[in-house]
Every structure is written in C-alpha cells, then in structure tokens.
Amino acid sequence: MIAVTEAPLDLAAHERAVVDPAAGAVVSFAGVVRDHDHGRTVRWLEYEAHPSAEAVLKEVAAVVAADPAVRAIAVSHRVGVLQIGDVALAAAVATAHRAEAFAACARLVDEVKARLPVWKHQVFADGTDEWVNCP
C-alpha cells in the first residue's frame, strides 16, 4: 500500500497491510493536520503534489525497505483540502524487533518529508494564507 491520494487515509489499514508472520513489531505514524502553526490559528489547509509524487514515494519506500530488518512498509500521503484532525501522512513499518521498527518508521517519515514533491498551503483564521517553507 503506497499511494498519493485525495481519499481519506486509514492508519489501521496501513498497519494491517504490513502484517507478516516474521514481524514482531509494527510501528505506525499519522501526520495529522493541527490547528496552529508558529502561534497562528490554522483554519484548513490544502496539499498539492507534483505528478511524480507517487513515483517518488515508491522510491523512498524502496530505499527504507532495502534495510534487511524491514519486513514490510505501507505509506500514503493525502492531497487536496484537509481539515483539522485529518490524516495527511500515514505510515507503517513491520520488523522482527521493536527498535528496528521505530527507527525504520522514523527514517521513512523523515525521507518522505525531505524528498516527496508535495506542498502545503495554510489558510489562517485571520483570512491570510501561506505556502509553507516558500519564501
């Protein structure tokens, strides 16, 4: 399960997708839309993806999956308009032991944030807006 999609993300489905008889640990992560950023109230936001985003996500997952400790990976990023509390990024990693699963899931999320061509447009309660990280 690796996707860039406008559909709501189901973290439990990602956890189920990595079930493996040899895996003693499943670590999952949900990146959730929060209602504040740098002290300002966020009303809603919109994610935009480059057409290559899903291919890049598959590359990133393959890099993390190349670790022999990793049994399975599921990761999805949502795009479009999201409300406070919606899941923007869902990830799950299965390994034999827990320390490897925590490390691999953290690496997966870090790599997604660094490499995925996705952008976040925040609309604030005062009506202003910004593209995050964009000067």
Binding site: Y47, H50, K113, W119, H121, C134, P135
Partner: protein
C-alpha cells in the same frame, strides 16, 4: 520553445501556472528572464526552488537547456 510549469508557491508568486520562453538559454538565463517577466517575488522563490527538465532533476545552471523542454519549478517541499 520552453514550457515553464510553476507549482504551489511558485505559481502563487508568478501569478500564472505556466510560461512560454524562447529556447537557447541556460537555467541561469531562464530564471533571469522569468524574474524580469514576473517580478522579484518570483525571484525569491526561484532562489530556493529545484528544477526538473523533462521530468529529471536539473542542477547545472550554466548548461544550455534542450529544445523543446518542459521545465518544472518546484519550491521547497512541505509534505507530511
């Protein structure tokens, strides 16, 4: 002809989604042309952006761009 596609904050700064630019230039020259056409706000974004040429990362600012080509302007990523 070069087709420049602006994404996200680059599109907001340019005020348009695409530009057409005559070929025969480097990435450095292309960005100067785009700033002259669209303004310094776009210039700030171009200073931090990465570029794809026909879908592949293009880092050399002094090599002539192919013709025709599609140049994608990608502002800093902000996923997750």
């Amino acid at each position: 002809m070069l087709t420049v596609r602006y994404f996200a904050g680059a599109r907001a700064a340019a005020g348009v989604a695409e530009d057409q630019v005559p070929p025969g230039c480097t990435l450095h020259q292309l960005t100067a042309t785009l700033v002259a056409r669209r303004g310094e706000r776009l210039g700030r974004v171009l200073g931090t952006a990465s570029f794809l040429v026909d879908g592949l990362a293009w880092r050399d600012r002094d090599r002539p761009l192919p013709d025709p080509a599609v140049v994608d302007v990608l502002p800093p990523f902000a996923g997750g």
